[in-house]
């Protein structure tokens, strides 16, 4: 079917063969790696949102000690390269956990690669999410908060029904940026040996010596992920901005 294309471009047929989904093609491996990347990114983003919400609330409504500690957390994570944070958290995290378990007399626990990746990247994402959510919550007009208080709504209710819907459109551009950072940071986990897309690509390229083929294919997979995410976030933002003035 595509023979005319293969005849025109020598080497294309071998490249397509290398990428095929069934062995001896490496396409299946790449897709498995992409799925692992996606899982880690989703988990890390969700964990980052949880930490970020707690951090933003702590920075806005917490005591002076809480605020200072959170400031230290965000400054350290934003100043130190992710690679070094990943290494420190990866080694120190499992080390401390296993030491604590051993002290308690329990067997050391096996943390799967995906969970460790999610924990490490989630802590890094949490610092950025704290800043994004704090800025968004601060931009919500105070009058809405005061009016809700005047109506007798409790703090949790105010947060759920007034703060979150109002700050979400303001936070969405920053959050979509964070999601893109999460998907791209999963590549750093290749350096600690997690089987995600970048590591699978390097293994395939090393085994078959077809570097351009596999790196370009991996790039295309990442691009698909980022472009799709951009579309989805744009759709979410449009939905949340219904009824608001056009930006």
């Amino acid at each position: 079917m595509l023979d005319w294309l293969y005849a025109l471009w020598p080497g294309l047929e071998t490249s397509v063969g290398l990428l095929s989904l069934q062995p001896p093609g490496w396409g299946g491996n790449l897709l498995r790696g992409a799925w692992a990347s996606l899982q880690i990114a989703i988990g890390a983003f969700a964990l980052g949102l949880l930490i970020g919400t707690a951090g933003a609330l702590g920075k806005l409504h917490g005591g002076p000690v809480t605020r200072d500690l959170l400031a230290v957390y965000t400054v350290v994570v934003r100043a130190v390269p992710e690679l070094i944070l990943i290494l420190i958290l990866y080694y120190a995290g499992t080390d401390l956990l296993n030491q604590a378990l051993r002290a308690l007399g329990q067997r050391p626990v096996e943390i799967s690669g995906v969970v460790a990746g999610i924990a490490v990247l989630g802590i890094v994402q949490g610092a950025y999410a704290t800043e994004v959510l704090r800025g968004a919550i601060q931009s919500v007009p105070r009058g809405q908060h005061e009016a809700a208080r005047a109506y007798g709504m409790g703090p949790v209710q105010i947060f759920r029904r007034v703060t979150i819907p109002a700050m979400l459109p303001l936070a969405l551009p920053g959050l979509s940026n964070l999601w893109l950072i999460a998907t791209k940071d999963t590549a750093l986990l290749a350096i600690v040996g997690f089987s995600e897309l970048t590591l699978e690509t390097r293994q395939a390229a090393g085994s078959t010596r077809a570097h351009f083929t596999f790196f370009l294919a991996a790039g295309a997979l990442y691009l698909v992920m980022t472009l799709l995410s951009g579309r989805i976030f744009g759709w979410i933002e449009a939905r949340y901005r219904r009824g608001q003035a056009a930006q």
Partner: protein, 255 residues
């Protein structure tokens, strides 16, 4: 809402932290190292070392699971408990024995310098002066090169031997120092036509080690003895030679 979140978090932690009772996690290098261990297109690990690991585990009645780990962090992974043993062509050296224990050696092969065909060199520091030598990080080859060749020779360190081989084929480096069997495998490929073996390096058992053994945590004598039993068993009943015959022409047990 809150209870749901609590239940979800607990479930996540529970599924993640499944403590396997008697599984032995064998750490192998996540980077391909043919012909000893490399992934195939289906994602399975194949190679001489992988088959030896399966045979040793069968002989010692251990429930083993292969755990690919980045070579750069494989000893910290063992020490912190993420894996139970290292069987990744790791040489037994005095430096490493300060941090971990080793089983009996299960193979021992010479270290060679492989260089560009059109360059004149042998494995001596004098002939390598002014040239560019590539080695893999955290290996005996890096330690040896830093002890004998650093200064006069430019050293480049790579995350994997495979990357060093690629740069050798590309001409970016003039030579690489590595295990003779791994290099034989590379020289047999099309990319390896660029180069040839220039010679074996001068012996130094303190740095190059007394063969390749399985690494275990300090004091983990039970596992170490089990692995030793397994290795002795497969050598005695011929499994070792049968596996070796499938990959190499001669025995690689060394002494």
């Amino acid at each position: 809402m809150k209870t749901l979140a609590l239940l979800a978090t607990t479930a996540l932690i529970a599924t993640a932290a499944i403590a396997q009772a008697d599984q032995v996690r064998i750490g192998i290098a996540a980077e391909p190292y043919p012909p000893f261990a490399s992934p195939d297109a289906a994602g399975n690990w194949v190679g001489w070392e992988v088959e030896i690991i399966d045979a040793v585990c069968a002989a010692a009645a251990l429930d083993c699971v292969l755990t690919p780990t980045a070579w750069d962090g494989i000893i910290p992974a063992l020490v912190s408990g993420r894996i139970d043993t290292i069987m990744a062509s790791m040489s037994i050296t005095a430096d490493r024995m300060q941090t971990i224990d080793f089983s009996d050696p299960y193979y021992n092969t010479p270290t060679v310098i492989v260089g560009q065909r059109d360059m004149q060199m042998d494995a001596s520091p004098e002939s390598l002066a002014g040239k560019v030598l590539g080695v893999q990080v955290s290996t005996i080859h890096q330690s040896y090169a830093q002890a004998y060749f650093e200064g006069a020779t430019e050293l480049r360190t790579y995350q994997t031997q495979d990357e060093a081989n690629q740069d050798l084929a590309a001409g970016r480096i003039d030579a690489t120092q590595a295990d003779s069997l791994a290099m034989d495998d590379f020289l047999a490929t099309a990319a390896g036509a660029c180069c040839e073996v220039k010679g074996a390096v001068a012996a130094d058992e303190a740095i190059l080690g007394a063969g390749v053994g399985a690494g275990v945590r300090k004091g983990d004598d039970a596992l170490r003895e089990a692995i030793n039993t397994g290795i002795a068993a497969i050598i005695a009943d011929g499994t070792y030679d049968a596996i070796t015959a499938g990959y190499f022409a001669t025995s690689i047990l060394g002494n």
